[in-house]
């Protein structure tokens, strides 16, 4: 079985994951000023020191959220869809598609997952991780 194709496999620490599975985003953390970057960078753009690769936890919490209702140029995701900020440990906020029917409440728990696009390629997305929450 071949590995799934990602839009950009460097975005995740577990590129062997398949659609719907939890994944860990591939970030970096500066050894000097502790700032985090996503996508990962070899050096800290703030202070220039070497940055360490970090796999973010699969769990995050919901920050602000909006929706895309009209197809943007070049997007493979079918409208309408939600886009929001997932907050990781109060350190870094990351934009992503949110797989839910309604915007999750601010502060509610999210899970980072692999999302299949209509052409079969994968990218990351977030979904509510509360039991019984929407999963698609």
């Amino acid at each position: 079985m071949t590995s799934p194709t990602w839009l950009d496999a460097t975005l995740v620490a577990d590129a062997g994951a398949s659609a719907g599975m939890p994944v860990h985003l591939a970030a970096s953390a500066c050894g000097r000023c502790a700032r985090m970057q996503f996508p990962r960078r070899p050096h800290c753009p703030a202070c220039g020191a070497a940055a360490e690769p970090v796999a973010l936890p699969e769990d995050a919490t919901m920050g602000p959220c909006t929706a895309v209702l009209h197809a943007p140029p070049g997007a493979l995701v079918e409208v309408p869809y939600l886009v929001g900020v997932a907050r990781f440990d109060d350190r870094i906020g990351i934009l992503g598609v949110v797989l839910a029917d309604e915007p999750p409440a601010p502060g509610s728990p999210l899970l980072t997952v692999a999302m299949a696009l209509p052409d079969g390629r994968l990218t990351y997305a977030f979904r509510p991780s509360t039991p019984g929450g929407p999963t698609s």
């Binding site: 839009l7 950009d8 975005l11 970030a27 000023c33 700032r35 985090m36 970057q37 996503f38 996508p39 753009p45 703030a46 202070c47 920050g63 602000p64 959220c65 909006t66 929706a67 895309v68 209702l69 009209h70 943007p72 140029p73 070049g74 997007a75 493979l76 995701v77 869809y81 886009v83 929001g84 900020v85 907050r87 990781f88 109060d90 350190r91 870094i92 906020g93 990351i94 934009l95 992503g96 598609v97 601010p106 696009l117 390629r121 990218t123």
Partner: protein
Amino acid sequence: MDHVVVAGIGIHPFGRFDAGYRELGAHAAAAALADAGIALGEADVVLVGNVGAGMAKGQNLVDLVGHAGVPIINVEAACASSGSALWLGARLVEQGAAGTVLCIGVEKAPRGFIAASGYDDWQIAGGLGVNPVYFALQARELLDRGATLDDLADVSVKNHRHALHNPNAMYRREVSRDEVLQSRMVCPPLTLLMLCAPNEGAAACVLMHEGEARRRGVDAAVRLRAVSLVSRGPDDWFVPAPSFPLQGRTSLTARAARLAYEEAGIGPEDLDVVECQDTDAGSELAAYADLGLCAAGEEAAFLRSGDTALGGRIPVNPSGGLLSKGEPLGASGLGQVHELVTQLRGGAGPRQVEAAQVGIGHVMGAGHNASVVVLTR
């Protein structure tokens, strides 16, 4: 800055036109030259701000104005393109490297979403390369800090009312709060009438060293006292960055404003009139605090006080702003300069800010850049 005079201004109305970018830009440039009373060949350099036109855009535009053989430099910095041209031109004049600089901003933007704002392919294909998303998320944060949907709508209502008397604006009709709230939802909470429309237009100005202005007998009443330009710092967040620090996030606009105020030796309390980058209603509210007009968290209260409307203490976007003028990306900054100089000259007619002496313009563009200009008379 102590030596930079705004000797002439020109504009081509903002809207949709059959003419090409060259005609739009040449129209504004010729008007600015005529206003300053000089010929193209008397400019030491021409700076052209534009995003979308092709190779040698400025050269091909100026070709319609005349064949004067002067240096022409193209400047691109997304929505801050003409602010960047102004930054460069003002420094050339202030430092004596040029006596006269013609700055032109011009754009013929396609309809709809502004595409290609510097997003990576994975962002675009993955549905994240959408500029209004960034503004919608900012608006959500404003709502969390006490602003309401009515406040967002009222920014648009105010600016559309201001534009009624601006012949250069694309939309010159009043809109009601309900009309704004009920217009097509783009990215919640932002509706169509809370977002500016990318469009077409041009604006230009002639910057002149005060000594040169004196020698030519040019009206030197309006001065450029400062212009700042900043790019991404360690903790900023704007289009197209997919992530940002949750602690200690900073503002490009606040940094640009601080630098401009320092250079001009003034503070926000000295301002009479402001033109700011109201890409969307939330961006104008955010700019109130970032420009130092009010404290962070008090943006909505400041709007509700009426201070930022014409007749208020410090009118913001008396031109109607980008919400009413539309946004020709490369021309928006110089469009603000055109409005501010018109205001400082006392020539704004029914939208005149009474006794305006000090004004600022503010632009902010994709790729993380912001500029603030201070003009006085």
